[in-house]
Symmetry: D4
Subunit: 210 residues, 8 copies
């Protein structure tokens, strides 16, 4: 496992018993913890026996950091999306990046249909070491961001939409076909994966890893 | 048939003999003519017997207008695309609109990956009665245009691209899922259909039809 | 935002709290309101605190108009469908068009399998400035309407059907491939989008917008 | 094999040698012959050694009938399509039905976008024992015919079209989802199969088979 | 409407109120009634106010016949399937055919994986005027039946199966590609449609319709 | 590499130079050779410099065996298909199995639409240690064979067919959904892979491998 | 039915009444029993009347063996998967193989993303007569196992995953396209089928069947 | 444009005239040049007038560097693939990365079916700042590499394969669903895009860009 990284548990489909069993094993090792895809209901039960964990309700993440690390001072990862529909995935990315030790700035109201809000933020976004761009529906946002910045863009399609969206297929194809350079794509709704890639890049940029 | 509209022939898959036979019938009626999807080779043979026709080589259209109409003075249709790859379809739309009697302005270098070129033209595009936006690859352009203008946008996906583009499916889905309002979509590579819809709208805007 | 248009909220996936928060903000500005995709249950709770709103139960729309506008006297939009299965989407289109300020006439029993009912209405439909044709199953209705009228037809595929319908894909493909000219298409079940396009056209036809 | 039916050979992908070898075997048995999907080039070579065969060039069929049967006097099969693009498949159906012994009437200019031409023929079509309706693009014609007649309709989707037609998938789905009763469907471009089913029905209607 | 045929209502998605309203209208006309896709729950409520109706629970059909017709003495339709999983659709077909006035024989345990059970019944099946073959999973049964009989076979794919079955797509494609002649196909799970086509054929075979 | 197995080269997309270079390397080791997917043209050039190779033209395979092995006396693999269209893939399987050292028996005229030809051969097929069943179009043959034998069946879908066959997808799905037990599937047109699996099984049955 | 094999019932979609009825019939014949896809709830009711059955809760299988057979001493089937998500299907395979009379060894923590755990077990896996490799998500495990062993590998894709996994399609395609030889594939989630094939092979390897 | 980066031209579908026109414009600016997707034929003509360009025939790239830059001394990008079929895309990536100024090491014989060759190279691959992993067929290689390294992996699916590969869809889905962390994906056959992303990361790791 990558040195300094927390233990990551994919909570979906795991019972409360399975999660707490894994938690006990990890805590014995004094390791940080990141549990994704935990519903509010499950989280509340787990928090009773593990009150030291923090629950991020929009992100649906349970996390614990052994000590608050003070690193990555200079750089940050930009998490970008168009609005409230994509918030769960954007926050899954944001919290993941923070627990993995990167600074994060959120740009959450910058859709392609109102391009000026994005342009107003463009200069600050350009300062990031990497951008995670989360988009459902037609998924066009990464193409526009990719044209504005010169750092790597990780595109995260979401399943938000209906009809010819086909559960995120539309956004996924859009991102894979982007005519802007410097964009790569992860699975539909995979906010965790988008952030993980961005953190690897951010750490390289901070000079912490070869 | 719509009064004042030319006879339209879909040239694809028709032989030179079939096209010239239809042409003879039409010319007898002194009707205007629009023949789409005619290859350079076929066009040259047809022009030998019908030298009064004009061949538009990028658009692959053969046309003839009984008399140069001077109408639609004030309004125009904006034909918009990102660059050379989509030119054939954009020109199919532009020539169709012109032969059908509308004024046309071309905006042919305004892709989403270089958003500022589009913004530089936004004010002029807003003056149009309708926009026909042609895009392949990820097909994101209509969403951005739709957010900038308040007239109807007809989106034309093209089959330009490769891999996960799936012969235009990617661009088609993008356009159908656009989060901008006021966008409707025609078939992949259907520049003719995009223009036809725009002309119907333009004529309504000119007050020529109820 | 388009001058004179109401604020539009897409209600799907928004909580009652989120919707009422947005409503308070809008009402402060004395703006008209259109909220689509609101279930009966949610609507009833919202109506308690906002009794001035009107709930259209088939359309699943909540709306409010600051003052009853008296415009678009002459023209109207035709909303056309084959019967009860497509009613929810047809009404989403009809109410949307009315709240946006257009006159609407409903033609709700005119399917392709009983072509004579459609033909009986053809003359009146031809008077419209635009038609919104809503169809599920095989989605053939826009093709027939398109052949009968000379104004723009906005086709709205619905997800009504089963088996090889694939949640509306069948109707969507039918409409995109229509051999009638003057037809453009919006997303599956997007009655709102169909009406929005038709209203833009209707306003141009009334001479209210360039 | 069905008594009184010719030997049927699917010519696609068979060499001239393979076809002539099969022909020799059949002719020895004095059996009728129907060879589908034979290109003009191949047909010409085969005709040199088998001049008694007839080549139907639009249908791309080679056939031979031992003696001209005079049966099925009263009934006929209607072969219906919208125009020249679908002619090859319509003729494959028509010639197949004739060689299999049925009377055929062709209705070849009756598309859904010009519904009145179809209605003008409706009364005669209703006289048929079965209809074979051939359609590409959106494939809506069988739905309209199905609503006009009370005999079985065999729908044959064709691969004619482009873009979102997906090589006939669009027409196929349309026909499978038809809201008219009494329609069944065969494979894309399978004019032979459409006719074969219609002939079985026609023979039952003539009282020749239980 | 076809003379002598009952009123057919597609019950899916209709409320009890809607169905009883339609029933009242029909009964006033002394017409036969066939309502498909009615769940047990809904049926029980409807039967309270319409005790003269019969509910066929496997077929999920409610029906009423004004008088027991005694016709089609000689011929019958064969309804064929492989076993219990496809029973609901097979019975939808069988009851539909009976209410529409045809004789029916059921062959319900004759799958391709145990071919001898089918062969044992082959001779009787050959006596039918038409076969309706219902199959899910791989959907191979119509091909085998088609090779054994010389009357028309209507193939009904079902959505029974899992994984690469894709809700009946597998069976549907199998049937469309059948290498046996004389097979046509209706929509996935459309037992009603399969029977309707067979009844039209059966009536022609009985000499009741031209 | 498996002891006693030849070197296998996938010829598709390899130039004559690449293939002869590999051949030289192998021959130096006195190893057996199997080259699949070699066109007649390429084979002829290769045979000039390597006349000791044998070209199997239907299978499109070039092979060489260091010495004629006399093993696997008792068992054999059954290669089964419906007719000439699937011959290339069936022969790819048959020659592969032979070069890999198994006995092979061919059953090449046993389609599902003429079930009796298959039943006539059933007893002999049951004697095999494994069956490779090759089928295009609807791909139903493995289901029927699987029901008749109690040894493992390897199903090989082929791309033979047209329309809704979708280049072999139809046959592939059919085989994956087979309701007969004891069937597993390889890639479309992968006759080599089907045979390879059967040979592994045959060798286990001969007691040559643990 | 195969001699010595238990009666197999596919429990999915069968009611408790249907299952107990079949059980009574089987027990009368003193036959072994294997019932797959039985939920905990259903199993508990059935066990009340049939306490001699054993319920395997992860596998969701009910089974009964007339007498504990002591056979297949030497060989075993390897059941291989990457971890807890695929456990239900892996256990369906393992229990099936055991009830059908084979020895089984489980290798349940050997995913491709941690290749060394698999390599640590490779030597023991190579001793198997056949491997059943169960994998969801990207489904890459069979390719790696196939490269390490020289016995037949049966690959079982699972529907575990989300987004572009498309309910197991991703894993299924991966396995069908494997570049390792000696791999064949069964339907998504078909642990039963994977084991059935492996048992047939194992029995051949034990010399119990020709 | 990114400072220090060459002008990039996508050669596919551009004529020799178009390319040389662009070249003249670029050369006037003394800018580096990278032209992808140029066939041997086209390259030879272009080289006549631009002999200073270098043609990389496997990569199908034409390039020119104003001066040989000596930078990125320490780090390198690993380009990884399984063998000759994926070479064209792997080389498109390798040459792109070199022209863009990064060091490259090629690992071209390390497929998943022979895992030990990959493991032998694992230590050196771990030294890279980023890996570009190119794979067709089942596309499993990035998952295994991702588990072995702790730097970002850019996965490039290729269209190499046949049948259920569906022109690269299989490899694409595999990569999007990878259970290893730190993997992102670009379009099918997009070696250029894979390298571009890796170079952005490599430059960040070298401390040349914020
Ligand atoms: N039924 C609908 N379907 C699709 N888009 C809609 C619908 N209703 C509203 N919209 C769009 O959604 C936007 C508002 O979205 P939101 O800000 O999420 O409430 C509006 O401006 C419309 O463009
Ligand atoms: N155009 C066609 N499309 C589909 N099937 C056909 C066609 N023509 C002939 N067939 C079928 O192909 C069978 C003959 O195939 P074959 O033995 O390969 O020549 C005939 O019995 C028909 O069932
Ligand atoms: N989990 C399973 N997945 C697929 N097929 C199964 C499964 N379990 C049993 N079967 C098959 O289903 C048959 C029994 O089906 P049934 O007669 O409907 O109970 C058995 O002979 C097996 O071939
Ligand atoms: N092989 C390739 N695949 C995808 N995109 C490419 C490729 N080569 C170049 N590009 C992109 O195409 C752009 C140039 O496109 P164009 O202006 O049409 O020549 C470059 O800036 C790249 O972003
Ligand atoms: Mg960029
Ligand atoms: Mg707009
Ligand atoms: Mg019209
Ligand atoms: Mg009818
Ligand atoms: Mg038959
Ligand atoms: Mg068997
Ligand atoms: Mg192996
Ligand atoms: Mg890693």
């Amino acid at each position: 496992k990558r040195q300094g990284f927390p233990e990551v548990i994919y909570g979906e489909g795991k019972t409360i018993e399975q999660i707490t069993a894994i938690l006990r094993a990890i805590k014995a090792k004094q390791n940080d913890v990141l549990i994704t895809r935990v519903s509010q209901d499950k989280a509340e039960v787990i928090l009773e026996s593990h009150p030291e964990l923090t629950y991020h309700d929009i992100a649906q993440i349970l996390s614990w950091k052994a000590k608050e690390k003070k690193e990555n001072k200079e750089g940050f990862i930009a998490i970008i999306c168009a609005g409230t529909s994509d918030l769960r995935i954007a926050e899954e990315a944001a919290i993941t990046a923070e627990v993995l030790g990167s600074n994060v700035r959120r740009f959450y109201d910058v859709g392609v249909a109102g391009i000026h809000r994005l342009l107003d933020q463009a200069q600050m976004i350009q300062e990031a070491t990497a951008s995670v761009v989360v988009a459902g529906m037609e998924g066009a946002l990464p193409s526009v961001v990719g044209g504005l910045v010169s750092h790597p863009v990780i595109a995260v399609p979401t399943s938000v939409g209906y009809g010819a969206n086909f559960q995120g297929l539309s956004a996924l194809l859009t991102m894979l076909n982007s005519c802007a350079s410097g964009i790569s794509v992860v699975n539909i709704d995979n906010g965790f994966g988008g952030a993980y890639n961005a953190v690897l890049i951010d750490r390289l940029a901070q000079g912490k890893e070869k």
